[in-house]
Structure formats: C-alpha cells, structure tokens
C-alpha cells in the first residue's frame, strides 16, 4: 500500500511538472499564435486580421501567474478550449478525429513488433551462434537505421505511385461506406499497410536485440540450467523458465514504447497523409496553438505516466520479488 501511495505521489508530482513545463514552453516561443496564423495565408490575409485574431484568441498580457492558474484550472477541469489554428474548433474535437487513427495504427504495429521481436529474440537466443542469430539482428538493425521518412517516400513512390499496389494517402478509401462493414475494415488495413511496415521496421530490431540479450543472460542463470538438468521439456524451458524472466526487463521499454505512441509519427503521417495526431501536434507547435499543444501534451503526459504506473504495478505482479517495497528500475 505504501508502495502504491508512493508511486501515486510520484505520478502526481511528475504530472504537475509536465503540465507546468507545458505551460511555460510554448509561451517561451517568440511571436504569438495570431502572428503564426498568418503563415497559413502567406500574405493573403490583411494585417487587420492579426488584430482580429488576437481578439478572437483572447490573447491577453495578464500577469503570468494568473494565466498559469487559469491554465491549470482549465486543464484539470477538462475545459481545454478552442484551438487557435483551427479556430473555433474545440481542441477535443481535433484530438478525437486524429488520435484514434494514431492509436490504432501505432498501437497495433507496436504490439505486433513487440510480439514478433520478442519471439524472434527468444528463438535466435536459443539457437545462438546459428545462421539466424548471425543475420537477423544485423538486417533488422540496418532497416532500423534507415530514416523512416526516406523508406516511406520510397515505398509510396514505388509501391503506391509506380506499381499502384497500395493507396498513397489517407487512412481509408474515400469511396467506402464508413461504419462497421468489411469494405471499410479492408480499406483501413489496405491504407495502413505501408505506414505500418515503416513503423514496424523502425522498431522491431530493438525488440529482437533486447530480447535476445536478455535471453542470453537468463539462459545462463543457474535456475535455467537447473531446470534443464531436471528434465523440463524444451518448450517449457524456453518459455516458462528463460523467456518469462527475460521478458521482465523488456516491460520498461514497452511502457515507453506505448507511451510514445500517443505523440504520433509526424514524418510518416506526413508522407502518407495519414490522419494522425503527430501532424496535428507538429502543426500546433509551429502555429503556436497553445490550447492544442497544451491539451495534447497533457494527454501525452498523462498517458505516459499512467502507462508507466501500470507497468510498475504490473512489474510487481509479474515479479514476486518486487511485490513488496523497493523500486523496480
């Protein structure tokens, strides 16, 4: 219980720090959102509009502390306000149209690459010194070192533009009926394939190598040797004895991977014109769209902290040694 409360306290502290940073950072940027807005129009908008925009956005020069408390209050009460760059659309609306796509795509890819990478890592560690062990880490490492956006561009150009195998843009076909039907689902998968591959290749190597190295360590542990000696079957030895323990350190990485999902993948979304949060976040930042930035950072911070918290707790469940007391990392 004490451990739990400790973690909760820590969680709240981090949250507060993140929110404060979140308040300070965008305001440190030179210019103001109204001025940044002008960029969208490249001079098509009269400078009168600037004054109008400033009025619309309610940009005040009130005492910073008052602004801060207002900000905290509205963040905590869920009044996240209206986006500047999409004025007067609600921040929540913007997030709700892009976040699910990001979560869907990146979430699934992350889970797949974790599952795949872990499995491959286990197997090549078991057959260490083998051909697969020699090749797979290097090949995936190379793929991971390719800039994702570059790979994405090449894929869009060849597989999408030249060959027409996959759609070049968007998260689903524009002619399909949106709703629970096979066509829609198929269309989503079809459109998600190339981005998914890029994201997958960008991350899978870490999982493979991480798991392989952990496995190597556990495979040398006395309890694994002991289990082998006492005659447990091979699969049980690999999965129940070695892999299970090797998995534990991977949990922390998983937590970070999962929490970073929510920030999206701007470069990849941009190349595939995928409807994701990364683009919104980046454009919010360039447009100094405080309400949107703040809300997104808040969601990101909360998610990340909560996931970390859950993983911490989960760690306790999975590893009986830390069930009582003690930090996990």
């Amino acid at each position: 219980m004490r451990y739990f409360l400790n973690r909760v306290g820590f969680l709240l502290l981090s949250l507060w720090a993140a929110m404060t940073l979140n308040f300070v950072l965008p305001r440190m940027m030179p210019g103001n959102p109204a001025e940044a807005m002008m960029a969208k129009f490249q001079g098509q908008l009269s400078p009168q509009a600037l004054t109008a925009l400033e009025k619309q956005f309610g940009l005040t020069n009130g005492p910073i502390l008052v602004q801060y408390f207002d900000y905290m209050r509205s963040m905590l009460t869920g009044h996240w306000g209206l986006s500047f760059s999409y004025y007067p659309t609600k921040v929540t609306t913007i997030m709700s149209t892009s976040l699910p796509w990001t979560l869907g795509l990146l979430g699934i890819v992350t889970l797949i690459s974790v599952a795949f990478g872990t499995l491959v890592g286990i197997l090549i560690a078991w057959k260490r010194g083998g051909v697969a062990d020699g090749i797979i880490p290097i090949v995936t490492m190379f793929l991971q070192a390719i800039p994702g956006f570059w790979l994405a561009l090449v894929m869009v150009y060849f597989l999408g533009f030249k060959l027409g195998w996959f759609p070049m843009a968007h998260s689903y076909g524009n002619s399909v009926q949106v709703g629970y039907n096979v066509n829609y689902l198929f269309s989503i998968m079809n459109h998600g394939f190339m981005p998914a591959v890029v994201v997958f290749l960008g991350g899978v190597s870490g999982w493979i190598i991480g798991m392989r190295n952990n496995m190597m360590t556990t495979l040398g542990e006395d309890y694994v040797v002991f289990a082998e000696a006492k005659g447990v079957s091979k699969s049980r030895l690999i999965f129940a004895y070695a892999a299970r323990n090797a998995l534990l350190p991977q949990l922390t990485s998983l937590a970070i991977a999962l929490s970073s999902i929510i920030g999206g993948q701007i470069l990849i979304e941009q190349v595939f014109s995928y409807q994701g949060i990364g683009y919104q976040l980046t454009s919010a930042v360039s447009n100094e769209d405080y309400p949107l930035i703040q809300a997104m950072f808040l969601v990101i911070a909360v998610t990340a902290l909560v996931i970390n918290f859950i993983v911490d707790m989960l760690y306790g469940r999975l590893d009986p040694r830390v069930r009582r007391g003690g930090a996990t990392s």
């Binding site: 030179p30 959102p33 807005m37 009269s46 400078p47 007067p88």
Partner: protein
C-alpha cells in the same frame, strides 16, 4: 442541404487541393479565418469580386454599385431572386446584418471595415447603401464590396458571437452546398437553385494532404484536378504524366521584395539600397531560387503584366527593368564614401555594411534566394547573415503592426496586392499602410495615395500612380526582386473553360476563393 443525385452522376467531380493542411476540421464558418476551403466563395458569397490579376470586376450577390457624395457613399443593387440554400429568400437585410455583426463583434472584422465605414443601410429589399467616414474608393471595393461574405440573418442572429461557433451545416447563397464531411475529405455538390444557373460541375471534392510531396503524387496520379501548390520540376513530374491534359500557369500576383529597414542609419541611405539592387542578379534568383517560376520584378514595383494599364508610358527606359552590374554597384558605394575594411566589408565612419537578412525557415525558394543574395552582395563588400526563422518569429520581427517594431535589417517578404496598384503602394508606403515593412514615410507619396483614394476620376488616379511609380523606381524604398507567383495546376480532361495564360480572365488559384467559385461556374464538361 438538398442533394442533387442526378447531377452528381452526370459529370465527374473535381478534386481540389489548395495546399497541404493535414486533417480538416468540420468548420464552415465564413467569419473564421481557418474555415475549410470553399466556405468562402463556394458556399458564402461576397457582393462583388475584384480580381487582382485581370483587374476585372465580377458581380456576385451585387448587380451593380455606384459611388456618390464625393466617393463617400456607395449604393449597391443586389441580385434579385437570390435564395439561401435552405429556401429562405435573400434580402438587403441579410447584407446589413452581416455588416452589423462585424461592428458588434470586432474580433470578426478581419478586414477592419468598420475603421472606414460610417453606416450600412438597406433600402427596400434589393438595395444597400454604405456610407464611409471619408472617401476611400479602393478600400470600399476591395474590403467592403469584395471582401465581406454575407450570411443569412435568420440563422446567425441566434448564434451569438460569430467567431466562436463551428458551422457544420452551412447555409449560403453560393453555387455549392456541403454534402458530406470527414477529416480526410469533404464534398460539395452544386446548389440546384443557384441564381446564376446550376454549376456544370456537379461535385467538388476537397481531400486532405499533409505534405506537398504527397499532394504532388496525387496530382500526377490524376487523383486531383485543380491545385495551387508549388511543384518543383513541374514539366517532368506533372505535365509529362499526361501532356495532353495536365497544364499549369503561374501568373504573377504580387512582388517579392527585399525589404530594407529605413530606420537603420545605413539602410536609409539611398546609395546603399541602390548598390544592393544593382548587385543582385535577379535572373539568377529567378532561375535558381525559383526554378524559373517567378520572373524578375521591375523597378516600379508594379506587378507586370497585370498592371500594364497603369504603367507610365513616359517612364524613363532604365526604369522598365533592372540591370545587374556589380562593378557599378561597388562604384556607387565608393562614391558614397564607403571603403572596404580589413575584413573586406564596405564601411564608412567605422560602420560596416553588414546586415542580417530574415527569411522564413522552410519557405525553400526564399531561403535559396536569400543565399544567392548573400553571395552576390558579398562580392561588393556587403556582409549578409541569413537568418532563417520560424514564421511566427519572422512575422513578429518584420510586422509593422506594433509601435516597438519592426525589428530587422533586411527581410524578404511579399506585398499585398489588389485590383489596382494602389493596394500595393498604399500598404507598403503609407504610414497607415497594412504592410509598411520598410517603415517608409514621405508626405508627398502619402499625398498621392490619399488623392487616389478620394477621387473617382480614373485619369487622376492614373496620374497618382505614375508619380508614385517613378518615385519608387528612383528611391527604392524597397528592393523589388521577383514577381510572386500564383500556383495553379489543372487537368482539363473532363472540363474546359479554365483560365490560361492566353486567356487570363481571372486569378486561377483554387485558394482565391471567390475567384474559384467563378472559375467553377465557367467550366463546361468535355463532350
């Protein structure tokens, strides 16, 4: 909004891309500067449209207008039989209401019309009388008649502050109605009861793209029919894909200037600006920085050929185009008393001709231009330090809006243009101008500008412009570099009637909204 199913199947839709913009948000509010493309022009309309490329005036909701009382009053006759797309008749009251909204909610008044307007009154159902505080013809045309979108009173009167609502079911008078929306695509269908006749293009699609590269591919693939994006190497990447139908035209629509801060003791010296101008090879900027899409500007800062009619026929030859001569440039500096110092930089009285040049990071053509300028100016001993900034910071530095500003030395930026050169000159050179980046103030120029605004006599207006252009060419309050292009690519496989270089009847960019609606009205299906 009523659907015209039969029309939708009759002709092919046109897919438009006005520029990469990520996901769309469901907002068709004409008071919002971030409303989705098509809101203005296609759904809501202005009274008239004054084109900055052809210089022509197009009737929209208005049928005719007349200046009176020494240009202080404009009387507009409205098009009869106009209906809102929900069937309610459109009346002069709607116009008055739309303007009253701007007065009541200054945040909505993006053009500041009420800084000039005295009153807006309806006379009967079809006439509106605008009274101005002072005569200002150009302002009345560009912003009041041509820049204010009219909304239905019966709907908006209950919406409160118009800047704070998201409009998802727009009701307008325009040729199109919203038929479906999703963040990655929305569709407009032709208004079946449009007062100027139902558009021959039954459906207009707006798909979302997040980057130029992504839109370029879609365009080349034929997924888009009308775009306004800067495509590099366009012959190879776009035209070649379908030479018979893929076309582009990049007409000039403004002037890209090298702005010099005239509050700077060195830059305020004419010799310095003159030398700079002479030392810049505009052909090189055009060819390398702009891949030939934007041509060298002229010393008068008129947008050519759009402003051909306003060019003083007696203007000395040397002011018709810039020449490039770095030796002459260096000589000008030497004559003005500058000498190269130990660092090879021209200096006088210990003050070096060394400046920072602000450009927007990521506006790659300007960034490239800036680098070329840096190279060239360095040859005559002027040091330039290129400063690539995020737009917000950049705009903040050059914007003349606030007293403490601007805060820059050199900057590359655009000009605001309108149907006549007045807009460009006024905005740049009048102390009250909207885009007086150089901080220019000369009573004689201000006088000519005021005269232009007040008079209704076209000949006198021409004389005013003649005086200003020759003043500009002689004094270089800013250094014109290139003509800023309007981006326009289209595919004429399904429709004809597009504006072309041969027939430049209107600004062809899909992002010039009222113009876009007029273009769509003029398109005809290919037989």
């Amino acid at each position: 909004a009523g659907l015209t199913a039969s029309a939708a199947t009759a002709g092919q839709p046109i897919a438009i891309q006005t520029g990469p913009n990520g996901n769309f948000q469901d907002n068709f509010n004409p008071y919002s500067s971030t409303a989705d493309p098509g809101t203005d022009g296609l759904i809501y309309e202005t009274l008239f449209y004054f084109d900055n490329i052809s210089g022509k005036t197009f009737d929209v909701l208005g049928n005719s207008f007349k200046f009176s009382h020494g240009n202080k009053v404009v009387t507009v006759n409205l098009h009869p039989n106009v209906k809102w797309s929900d069937g309610t008749p459109f009346t002069a009251q709607d116009v008055v209401f739309s303007f009253d909204q701007l007065k009541k909610y200054p945040a909505a008044d993006a053009n500041g019309v009420w800084t000039q307007l005295q009153s807006v009154k309806a006379v009967g159902k079809n006439q509106v009388v605008f009274t101005f505080k002072a005569p200002n013809g150009p302002f009345a045309e560009q912003y009041v008649l041509g820049g204010t979108y009219i909304v239905p009173q019966h709907i908006w009167k209950s919406l409160g502050d118009p800047t704070k609502v998201s409009v998802t079911k727009p009701v307008g008078t325009g040729p199109y109605e919203l038929s479906s929306f999703s963040p990655q695509l929305y569709k407009l269908t032709a208004n079946p009861s449009y007062y100027r006749g139902v558009s021959k293009v039954p459906e207009v699609d707006f798909p979302a793209y997040s980057s130029n590269a992504s839109a370029d591919l879609a365009l080349a693939k034929g997924d888009l029919q009308w775009t306004g994006i800067d495509i590099p190497n366009i012959q190879q990447t776009f035209v070649k894909a379908d030479p018979a139908h893929n076309h582009y035209w990049f007409p000039p629509s403004n002037v890209v200037q090298l702005y010099t801060n005239l509050k700077d003791p060195l830059l305020s010296q004419k010799a310095v600006r003159e030398a700079m101008s002479l030392a810049i090879d505009r052909n090189k900027l055009s060819a390398e920085g702009e891949t030939g899409y934007e041509l060298p500007a002229v010393p008068t800062s008129l947008v050519m050929p759009n402003n051909k009619a306003w060019l003083d026929p007696k203007l000395p030859k040397q002011y018709n185009s810039f020449s490039y001569n770095s030796t002459a440039a260096e000589k000008i500096l030497t004559q003005a008393g500058f000498k190269k110092d130990s660092k090879g930089i021209m200096a006088k009285g210990g003050k070096e001709l060394s400046f920072t040049l602000d450009v927007v990071a990521g506006w790659s053509d300007w960034d490239e231009d800036a680098l070329l300028i840096k190279q060239e100016l360095s040859q005559i001993g002027i040091g330039v330090n290129v400063n690539q900034m995020q737009f917000g910071a950049y705009y903040n530095a050059i914007a003349p809006a606030k007293p403490a500003k601007p805060n820059y030395q050199l900057a590359i930026s655009w000009t605001n243009t309108g149907p006549t050169p007045y807009t460009l000159y006024y905005n740049m050179l009048d102390p009250n101008g909207n885009f007086n980046v150089p901080q220019f103030n000369d009573p004689s120029v201000t006088g000519w500008l005021n005269d232009f605004a007040r008079t209704a006599n076209p000949a006198r207006q021409r004389m005013d412009i003649f005086k200003i252009q020759s003043y500009f060419a002689q004094n270089l309050p800013a250094i014109p570099l290139l003509f800023g292009a309007t981006w326009y690519e289209y595919n004429d496989a399904n429709y004809t009637g597009w504006p072309t270089q041969k027939n430049p009847w209107i600004n062809p960019a899909p992002y010039t909204y009222q113009a876009a609606a007029i273009v769509l009205e003029h398109l005809k299906p290919v037989k």
